[in-house]
């Protein structure tokens, strides 16, 4: 007598995902609360000529001399471009004009001892804006 084969009940495959989804939401909430936007840093390149080299290179080619003067609290930076005192906006306009002529000309930035680092960075940033790349930073002996 042939054996009767019993037909097995087929249950559809099922995974319990509740716990995993709970954890996923926990993680999502954690990262949303914990994450803080990252600062983007920039580098502003400049040359720092050694004292001996500065003496040699100054007379060799025409260059733009910008002096960074000390800043009084609450005032915008003051710069002296080729012996003419200018405000920040005027200096920017001057740099724009220089860049329209030649972006490779040498700019000698002379920082007064009491000027802030922010003033130097602002000036370097303006030079970067107009693609003026040949920048030298020296420290002024006075002030």
């Amino acid at each position: 007598m042939a054996r009767k084969r019993r037909k097995a009940d087929n249950h559809p495959g099922e995974l319990n995902l509740t716990a995993m989804i709970d954890v996923a939401f926990q993680l999502l909430s954690f990262f949303l609360l914990a994450i803080k936007p990252v600062d983007v840093f920039a580098n502003l390149d400049a040359f720092r000529p050694s004292p001996e080299k500065t003496n040699v290179s100054i007379p060799s080619s025409p260059m733009i001399k910008i002096m960074v003067l000390p800043q009084n609290p609450g005032e915008s930076g003051t710069y002296v471009v080729n012996d003419v005192a200018l405000t920040t906006a005027q200096t920017e306009a001057k740099l724009k004009r220089y860049a329209e002529t030649d972006t490779t000309q040498t700019i000698l930035i002379m920082c007064a001892k009491r000027s802030t680092h922010k003033q130097l960075v602002d000036l370097l940033d303006k030079c970067a804006k107009y693609k003026l790349t040949n920048l030298s930073v020296v420290s002024s002996a006075g002030i």
Binding site: D39, A42, K113, H117, D125
Partner: protein
């Protein structure tokens, strides 16, 4: 006779979740360690037109100039005279080529130039003429 119920098809996710957590812990720790190399006490000036820093050169030397004028490298306080000697040694280690050692100067925006001058003179001592001034291109928060 009552039919015997077959168990539902289940997957054991314990091992996978363990691995996922291990990975999360690893990345969270690695990211926070990387952030610690930058001194958060220094307020950098904004330079929206500067070239964005995309990758770090393993040879670069980051010199921090704090508000009070003190210098540090990798969060370790250092004197200007010693900085010059360290830079000279670093240049010598890279075949005496000063251009092979990029120096990034991270100066606080309010620090006076006379304090920055110490770090710049140390670079001159090591014959390093190309200096990178660090700034903030975009503020995150």
């Amino acid at each position: 006779m009552r039919k015997k119920e077959e168990p539902y098809l289940t997957g054991n996710l314990t091992a996978m979740i363990d691995v996922v957590f291990q990975l999360i812990i690893f990345f969270v720790c690695a990211i926070s360690m990387q952030n610690n190399t930058n001194d958060e006490s220094i307020t950098l000036a904004l330079a929206p037109n500067g070239v964005a820093e995309t990758e770090k050169n393993p040879r670069e030397v980051r010199v921090d100039v704090h508000k009070d004028g003190s210098l540090s490298i990798a969060m370790q306080p250092i004197k200007a005279e010693l900085l010059g000697a360290i830079l000279e040694k670093t240049v010598a280690d890279f075949g005496g080529n000063p251009d092979a050692v990029p120096v990034i100067l991270r100066g606080d925006m309010s620090v006076l130039h006379e304090k920055i001058q110490g770090a710049l003179d140390a670079c001159s001592q090591a014959k390093i003429v190309k200096i990178r001034f660090a700034a903030l291109k975009e503020k995150g928060s």
